[in-house]
């Protein structure tokens, strides 16, 4: 099993519903977030192009945060999901420094927190909160090892890219272009 997410940049309108749905679902304290929206605009008026991306932890196969964690609090579970165990985290910040996507934040209680692909939900057969709420249905989630999963189907059909593949992390957040 290999969980992954695909974000359709052609459909995403940057409404940030993914952000607030994640915050309420996961009790992310106000002022912090596990996912965010980036807008990249290029050109000169009126020749313009825009790309909008809903971003979060890339759940990298070669996750530098897991590699550099001194206690094993950052770990990878079945399905390739990168998680942090608060009870093992000492809050040293090494994982935050190691993440090329800046996907982690220090929770006010001290431990480092991040996107879990809503592990508690997918364990029960549900989609992550952001996927389920997205009004444009631009987020696809599922198991890459399952050819019929939403994410496999859309990745086969459409061209996609990952962010900073040259960082060698083998990210599992795909952006449909």
């Amino acid at each position: 099993m290999r969980y992954a997410m695909a974000v359709d940049t052609r459909k995403c309108v940057g409404c940030s519903d993914c952000v607030v749905a994640c915050q309420t679902e996961n009790d992310v304290p106000i002022g912090f977030c596990r996912d965010w929206v980036v807008e990249v605009m290029d050109g000169t008026y009126p020749q313009l192009e825009i790309e909008i991306r809903s971003e979060r932890c890339n759940h990298c196969v070669n996750a530098p945060c897991v590699r550099c964690c001194p206690t094993g609090a950052s770990h990878i579970v079945d399905g390739g999901i990168v998680l942090v165990e608060p009870g093992e985290c000492i809050g040293c910040g090494a994982c935050m420094a190691s993440c090329p996507y800046d996907a982690r934040y220090p929770h006010p209680s001290g431990y480092v927190d991040k996107c879990t692909f809503c592990f508690h939900r997918i364990k029960n057969g549900m989609s992550p909160a952001c996927v389920e709420v997205c009004p444009t249905k631009c987020l696809y989630f599922g198991d890459l090892d399952d050819m019929n999963s939403d994410v496999s189907v859309v990745l086969k059909k459409r061209k996609s890219k990952t962010l900073i593949p040259e960082a060698g992390t083998d990210p599992q957040l795909y952006f449909l272009i």
Binding site: G14, S16, V19, G31, F32, C33, D35, W36, V37, V38, E39, V40, M41, D42, G43, T44, I52, P64, R67, C68, C69, P70, T71, G72, A73, P86, G87, E88, C89, I90, G91, C92, G93, A94, M96, A97, S98, C99, P100, Y101, D102, R104, Y105, P106, S109, G110, Y111, V112, L163, I164, E166, A167, G168
Partner: protein, 313 residues
């Protein structure tokens, strides 16, 4: 015009507009750890080589600073932790891929070793010292018997510690400025240089001082060589590393790095030490302070600049 903005989210403290998760604590810790490593490595090396008599200060006196530096460093490190009550998790895990785990365990070995080393030489500082309990005398005898083993342990772990202070940063490929293996040797050289400088200051023996001035000169030479290579490497690398180097070559860190670290922390003390080796009499405090401050500045600048350096996407 290209515009990249975060529409929402990511207002996370300590991440945007650039990472600032690590502050003075880490910089100070890297400096203190590096200097302690330098002091202990030199002491152990000369002891093993049987030069204890020639370099008595380096082997028997200067190491008294090491436990102090290490404890201060550990305190700084502890202050930096955000989930402090869980610090013990460091010592229920060995993570071979994590430099920080290596560091934690190295400190776990070298800190007690440095204490023991000082205990063995306590009478050099306090001639009337009495351990009071017999079992401590027994321990004293035990460690005296295996002092050479202890020295080897100390030497190896001191070098690991010295390199580790650089590897800790260079393991993060997310921060292009840190992501160079030159940082390990550079921080080791810088730590050794600071260690040698302290002995230069403390020693009353003319021959020993001359020797350590020479050692320091060589180390400064090595550091300069490594710095040149550092930038050559960056400039020959990817876009993000070129940009990282440019932070020091015309960018915001140019002045502080070249003035405080290279000129004041290396070139001027080197010049003063050369003059000292010649006929001129220079108050030794001046080059020593400059070297130590330069070493401190190096850590601060690299730690802060590294957090600004990032991948662009």
């Amino acid at each position: 015009m290209k515009e990249e903005i975060i529409v929402s989210g990511r207002m996370n403290q300590l991440i945007d507009p650039h990472l600032h998760i690590w502050h003075w604590q880490i910089s100070l810790y890297l400096f203190l750890g590096g200097m302690a490593a330098g002091i202990l490595a030199i002491a152990a090396l000369y002891f093993i080589r049987g030069r204890e008599k020639d370099y008595r200060t380096a082997v028997r006196i200067t190491p008294f600073l090491a436990p102090v530096l290490l404890v201060l460093g550990l305190i700084a490190l502890f202050i930096d932790l955000r989930h402090k009550l869980f610090f013990w998790q460091l010592y229920t895990n060995i993570k071979l891929q994590s430099p920080m785990s290596w560091g934690a365990w190295t400190l776990m070995v070298i800190t007690p070793a440095s204490f023991i080393w000082c205990a063995l030489h306590i009478k050099d500082i306090f001639p009337d010292w009495d351990w009071k309990y017999k079992w401590i005398y027994n321990l004293d005898t035990f460690f005296n018997k295996y002092k050479k083993t202890l020295a080897w342990v100390m030497l190896i772990y001191a070098i690991i510690l010295g390199i580790y202070t650089g590897i800790l940063l260079s393991a993060f490929n997310a921060r292009p400025l840190w992501n160079t293996s030159i940082l390990g040797p550079l921080f080791l050289a810088s730590g050794l240089s600071a260690g040698a400088a302290v002995t230069l200051l403390l020693s009353k023996d003319k021959a020993e001082r001359k020797q350590f001035a020479r050692i320091d000169l060589v180390l400064i030479g090595i550091e300069l060589f490594l710095i040149i290579h550092l930038f050559m490497g960056f400039l020959a690398s990817t876009q993000v590393q070129i940009e990282a180097a440019n932070m020091f070559l015309g960018g915001p860190y140019t002045m502080s790095f070249w003035i405080f670290v290279v000129i004041l922390g290396m070139l001027i003390p080197a010049l003063l030490e050369i003059m000292e080796l010649g006929k001129f009499h220079i108050p030794v405090l001046v080059p020593v302070t400059l070297v130590i401050l330069g070493s401190l500045m190096l850590r601060f600048i690299i730690v802060y600049a590294g957090q600004v350096s990032r991948w662009l996407y």
